[in-house]
């Protein structure tokens, strides 16, 4: 069956609504508009306005209402239009959803799923392009899953709904239109555990979500340079699958972490630290990172492109690691002395 990432999620929602009458979808423009990214298009007609529930622009209010409904015996799917707007609901996500079970000594759990779009690449500027899933992965009590593949887009939702605790699903905006084949019997998949999307022997490229396909392209290109790259799709940012990450590094002895999020204090820092803690003596080179440049996302296409990890950045970082040219400029961080990123300098031939 040919489908899109968007279609896979829609099918997952539809199936969940049919399987469990406690499930309902609530969020801004999910009903009459059909979803900001058209994910819920047609569902209002199928399930009606009680279960495909349009909300006012009240992120904190309806996210908290989702938590309350979960406490009251429902299985809500709250759609927050984008991660940028979820900042208005952080109180509810962090202080309530993530906290109530522990704080109540196990008396109350919150079986809530929150879906939201994340990431940049659509020229929608600073307030619509953030990648904050790594930031939310800091919070105990939450599960953070960024499905990249059609199978995961189709299968993670039901598993998340069956989980007794809050699960946040991050859908990269550039994936919605991605099409491919999905098995007719595609169904629920685990929401824990990383996957090796491409086996390799020379370097582990560790990534997730919207960056996965860039990294797979980079692995293709690296192969043409004689470098065998293994691609690890994290699938879950909380919990992280240490076993798969460390197992891959033990095979390849080198790692590049690729994350659209910022490097300072980001999930890439956490992964790098875990590799250092758990596989230090396996490493032939320091862990490298390719991350978003630490700026609010600019609007113009050329600047946005420069701010996001690109295939060439991943290839360069991996080649430098394998060729022993470490410590040159393997990631896309800000060079405070020069005031511009090393990557920009590289692209201008100044490296």
């Amino acid at each position: 069956m040919k489908t899109s990432y968007r279609g896979a999620i829609r099918e997952a929602i539809r199936e969940a609504m049919h399987r469990d009458e406690r499930v309902f979808l609530m969020g801004e423009d999910v009903g009459w508009y059909g979803g900001c990214y058209a994910v819920s298009k047609g569902l209002l007609e199928e399930f009606g306005p009680e279960r495909i529930r349009d909300t006012p622009l009240s992120e904190s209010g309806f996210t908290g209402a989702g938590i309350g409904a979960a406490l009251g015996g429902m299985r809500p799917i709250v759609e927050i239009m984008t991660v940028n707007f979820s900042l208005l609901a952080l109180d509810q996500i962090v202080n309530n959803a993530a906290t109530l079970l522990h704080m109540s000594g196990g008396a109350f759990h919150v079986p809530l799923v929150i879906r939201m779009a994340t990431g940049g690449g659509r020229q929608v500027a600073a307030q619509h392009s953030r990648s904050l899933e790594g930031w939310l992965a800091h919070i105990p009590g939450l599960r953070i899953v960024p499905p990249a593949t059609l199978e995961d887009a189709r299968g993670m939702l039901w598993t998340a709904l069956e989980d007794p605790d809050p699960v946040l699903i991050f859908e990269h905006v550039l994936l919605y239109n991605r099409e491919g084949a999905l098995a007719d019997d595609a169904g629920p998949v685990p929401i824990e555990g990383a996957a090796i999307r491409r086996p390799g022997t020379d370097v582990s490229l560790i990534t997730y979500g919207g960056s996965l396909f860039k990294v797979l392209d980079a692995a293709d290109e690296l192969a043409s340079h004689g470098i065998s790259a293994e691609v690890v799709d994290l699938r879950s940012l909380r919990p992280l699958d240490d076993e798969t990450i460390l197992g891959s590094v033990a095979r390849t002895h080198r790692a590049v972490v690729v994350d659209e999020g910022w490097r300072s204090g980001g999930i890439s820092a956490e992964i790098s630290a875990r590799i250092m803690e758990g596989a230090f003596y396996e490493l032939d080179a320091p862990v490298a990172r390719v991350c978003g440049v630490e700026v609010p996302m600019p609007y113009p296409e050329h600047l946005e492109r420069a701010a996001l990890p690109q295939v060439a950045d991943v290839v360069r970082a991996a080649r430098d690691l394998v060729n022993g040219n470490v410590g040159i400029a393997v990631d896309v961080g800000i060079d405070s002395d020069a005031g511009i990123s090393p990557k920009a300098r590289i692209e201008r031939g100044e490296s």
Partner: protein, 333 residues
């Protein structure tokens, strides 16, 4: 503000139960303050003393099937709801026999058995939860009201307005119980909110809203009954502004620089406990001996709870990370 005349006294047993409920909260909290100075209770301790008529008059109007969402000043609601006094005191101590396993302490009392959903220490953070609980009840076809307690400070928060709008928009069975004690910690309502008639602001969302003398337990009870009856009849959310006053500092750390002794003394003249007891005496429902019996009963209950808490146990450090995630699925219906 002038309120309508106070309702007539109910039959003696009921009047006595209202008095007892207020007295229990008062004596329980006075004991907590002592225990705090003895370093048995730690952290933040926000006393409800002075505001007892609100919890004692409103909470018992609810049915066991209803839900309660409260704030960090919630000892009164918890006790009035019937969360066992022992379990509340053990929670104050942080013992695992507490109603939240000792994890929450004074600010985070939880009890599944009485549908007491906390103990929320983020001002206005509980309002959206109440809306969601009411939404769930409606979608599940359950006859449940959610009563949500919060203070005047919450009315300035965005979450208050989002929750009011959602509840009114969806016509949900929520009773919003605003405990207006005139201060958000130490910031007076008059210097922090443009419109200090809080019921007026709630009414802007199209829901019935009125102010109630929060020092008169009979007025609290009668207004709550009226609102609950209407909500159960499908009339949608109601907002009650209980005008009340806390006699003690905001917490045990508060030097009370922001209000005068005279103001506090003035409010103490309307202490809800003598107010009711006096009326009962006037009507011949209560005498010194009767009051003594009541005090004795309450003292025994409070002391028993202290003994229970003293005899409680500390959760094993090995259990620290339990309940970050659920251990079993589907405990809620």
């Amino acid at each position: 503000m002038t309120f309508p005349p106070s309702p007539p006294l109910p039959e003696a047993p009921h009047a006595r139960s209202l008095l007892r409920s207020m007295l229990l909260i008062r004596r329980f909290e006075e004991r907590c303050a002592e225990l705090y100075t003895q370093r048995k209770i730690h952290g933040f301790l926000h006393l409800y003393i002075g505001e007892e008529a609100v919890a004692a008059g409103s909470v018992p109007v609810l049915e066991p099937r209803d839900s309660v969402v409260a704030t960090y000043r919630e000892h009164g609601q918890a006790l009035a709801r019937g969360v066992p006094t022992d379990a509340v005191m053990a929670e104050m101590y942080g013992k695992q026999e507490g109603c939240a396993r000792g994890r929450g302490g004074s600010m985070h009392l939880f009890d599944a058995g009485t549908r007491f959903f906390g103990g929320n220490a983020i001002v206005a953070g509980g309002l959206p939860l109440a809306v969601g609980l009411a939404l769930a009840a409606r979608m599940r076809g359950e006859d449940r009201i959610t009563a949500c307690y919060f203070g005047d400070g919450a009315v300035a928060e965005g979450e208050f307005h989002e929750a009011m709008n959602l509840a009114a928009l969806w016509n949900l069975p929520v009773l919003f119980c605003c405990e207006n004690n005139l201060y958000a910690m130490g910031t007076a309502l008059r210097i922090s909110q443009a419109e200090t008639d809080l019921a007026l602001r709630a009414a802007a969302y199209g829901m019935p809203a009125w102010a109630v003398d929060g020092m008169d337990v009979l007025a609290v009870e009668s207004s709550t009954r009226r609102a609950v009856e209407a909500i159960r009849g499908g009339a949608g959310p109601h907002f009650l502004e209980f005008r009340t006053y806390r006699f003690r500092p905001h917490s045990m750390f508060d030097p009370e620089l922001y209000r005068s002794r005279e103001e506090v003394d003035e409010w103490k003249k309307r202490d809800p406990i003598p107010l009711l007891a006096g009326r009962m005496r006037d009507e011949g429902m209560l005498d010194d001996a009767g009051m003594e019996v009541l005090e004795q009963e309450v003292a025994e209950e409070v002391e028993a709870s202290v003994a229970f808490a003293e005899g409680g146990t500390w959760e094993a450090v090995e259990d620290l990370t339990r309940f970050v995630h659920s251990e079993t699925e589907g405990r809620q219906p």
